[in-house]
């Protein structure tokens, strides 16, 4: 139960950060990328602030043997640079530049009660499902597909 409340509070801090920073505003996100037009550099400050805290904070946290609520840290350790990583990231940027939303900004934005956000997240879900089909993974719950 403590773990669930802890996760809730963590999500709330993240959402507040997204909302205060301007990340959940597609007009602002698209202007960050529109260097030749209505450029707004603000989002560089979001990334700067977030990476500064995370860079230092992770190193402090990793001095511990285990996390508070789990028995180990689950950090990706792959260093493989392949076409899937580069192509997928390139595709992600294209989608981000088209819509102006990314998932981390759109999830908190759902709390604004705006249909555009629900449409975006529904489309992301469709994209995730398509990717699973293309990778040969099931999109059904394990209990249903087994």
């Amino acid at each position: 139960m403590m773990k669930l409340i802890y996760a809730w509070a963590t999500g709330l801090v993240f959402g507040l950060g997204i909302a205060i920073s301007g990340m959940m505003n597609p007009a602002k996100v698209l202007n960050f990328f529109d260097i030749a037009g209505t450029w707004d550099l603000s989002l560089a400050f979001v990334m700067g602030g977030a990476v500064a805290v995370t860079f230092i904070g992770y190193r402090l946290v990793w001095r511990r043997a285990t996390p508070l609520f789990e028995d180990r840290f689950q950090v990706p350790n792959s260093n493989v640079i392949d076409a899937r990583l580069v192509g997928g990231s390139a595709l992600f940027g294209i989608g981000w530049g088209i819509a102006g939303f990314c998932p981390g900004a759109a999830i908190p934005a759902l709390g604004m009660g705006r249909w555009e956000v629900a449409l975006f997240l529904g489309a992301v879900g469709l994209g995730l499902a398509l990717a699973r089909i293309l990778k040969g993974q099931s999109i059904l719950p394990r209990s249903a597909s087994a």
Partner: protein
């Protein structure tokens, strides 16, 4: 449309985003990747992992309402593109984040902070394609 340059609010918000990433690592030993968390909710294959993702997302969704309660104003959210464009962008974001194994939070915030080689490749890649896409749409196509 023009948007105001907000370095202080954006930096402050960034600090909170970073704090959340650190808190998730401290508590659950996990990377804060929004797409991974979303994917875990949509395709819940491991039930014990579902519950904390659900409360995490609940916390995220409650943030704008809390800001409204505290300040009396909702955060800005202006969508300068059409519904069709939002939907197309969303599908591409989902496909790309899945194949690229991450998005702005997972690769951007957490991956760069870990100095992950994959994220050091992924972030400049998606930043560049996003900027090129916006340039092509706004200044070449003229939409």
């Amino acid at each position: 449309m023009e948007t105001a340059f907000t370095p202080f609010a954006s930096f402050g918000g960034g600090l909170l985003i970073g704090l959340a990433a650190v808190l998730l690592m401290l508590g659950l030993g996990r990377i804060f990747g929004a797409t991974g968390i979303l994917s875990g909710l949509i395709f819940p294959e491991r039930c014990p992992e579902f519950a904390w993702r659900a409360t995490l997302v609940l916390g995220m969704v409650m943030a704008p309402g809390l800001i409204f309660l505290a300040t009396g104003a909702w955060p800005a959210l202006d969508v300068p593109v059409s519904p069709l464009i939002i939907a197309i962008g969303g599908v591409i974001v989902g496909l790309g984040a899945s194949f690229g194994s991450g998005c702005t939070s997972g690769h951007g915030v957490c991956g760069l902070s870990r100095l992950s080689l994959r994220s050091l490749v992924a972030v400049p890649t998606f930043m560049a394609t996003a900027a090129i896409t916006v340039f092509v749409i706004r200044h070449f196509i003229g939409a």
